[in-house]
Amino acid sequence: MVNSQVRVYKPFIGPFDPCPPLPYRTYVVPPNQYIVFQPLDWPQFSLAEALKLGTLWPNLYSPYESKSKRVEEVGSDGEPV
């Protein structure tokens, strides 16, 4: 699943790393980081959706999926997942 809020960087891989290196690390930049002051009249989720997601505002919603049971941040092809 592509999440446009995920940023990827490649850490340095040394020639003598004791463990198999993970080629990528990721972090999330939630959309609020680009908002200085929330404007009036933003679109809203339905109330049921808002209660579930934790925000009334699609523009503030940040999805996050567990990395549990996954190879850390990398697919079998070595590309970030």
Binding site: P30, S62, S68
Partner: protein, 189 residues
């Protein structure tokens, strides 16, 4: 004063018997960036901040107590039926000898909560930037907690709490704008 509603802010469902996860969740209970620290930090800062942003600290500080209750419920559900042997296997033997199954304000490593985790500088910018940082740290902690469990129901509650930190961070950054902008000129939103 407060009015208490006898329900959780968001339903807490835990579907996997995983007492070890209870130990990890304590990070958000009595940890440096946990909900107790957040609630006490904001509610205490209210007294020495410009009037216009007291309400933000009041509302968010109150909500953090609702989050604390959710974390407590998760921990309680994960430990209430565990035998001493199961707690031992989950790395909770040291907790058990001191507290039985009682919850306690400590972090995932068993370090008790301390007021040194929080600050009140009396300077509105210093305090609000601390609050923003606290929200980002809490968001990150929720991410790592979500990564530590494959229980989708527990993940669901944690995802809700993570999203609330994002909303809080936004509100605190708006509070910074409000106090920066207070230069005698009127501004309408």
């Amino acid at each position: 004063m407060w009015i208490y509603e006898k329900k959780l802010q968001y339903p807490v469902r835990v579907s996997k018997c995983d007492p070890y996860m209870a130990r990890l969740l304590l990070e958000q209970y009595g940890g440096a960036d946990g909900e107790l620290a957040a609630a006490l930090r904001y509610l205490n800062q209210r007294y020495t901040i410009p009037d216009k942003v007291i309400g933000i600290l009041n509302d968010i500080g109150t909500e953090e107590f609702a989050h604390l209750e959710m974390i407590a419920t998760m921990v309680y559900k994960l430990t209430k039926d565990a035998t001493p042997d199961q707690l031992k296997a989950a790395g909770l033997a040291d907790h058990y000898v001191n507290h039985d199954k009682a919850l306690f304000y400590q972090n995932a490593a068993g370090v008790p909560w301390t007021a040194s985790y929080i600050q009140a500088k009396g300077d509105p910018l210093a305090d609000l930037y601390e609050d923003i940082a606290a929200e980002e740290k809490a968001r990150a902690t929720y991410q790592w907690l979500i990564d530590m469990t494959d229980d989708v129901d527990l993940q669901d509650g944690l995802k809700f709490l993570r999203e609330r930190e994002i909303v809080h961070s936004t509100r605190f950054r708006e509070a910074v704008e409000i106090i920066k902008d207070d230069r005698g000129k009127k501004r309408f939103f």
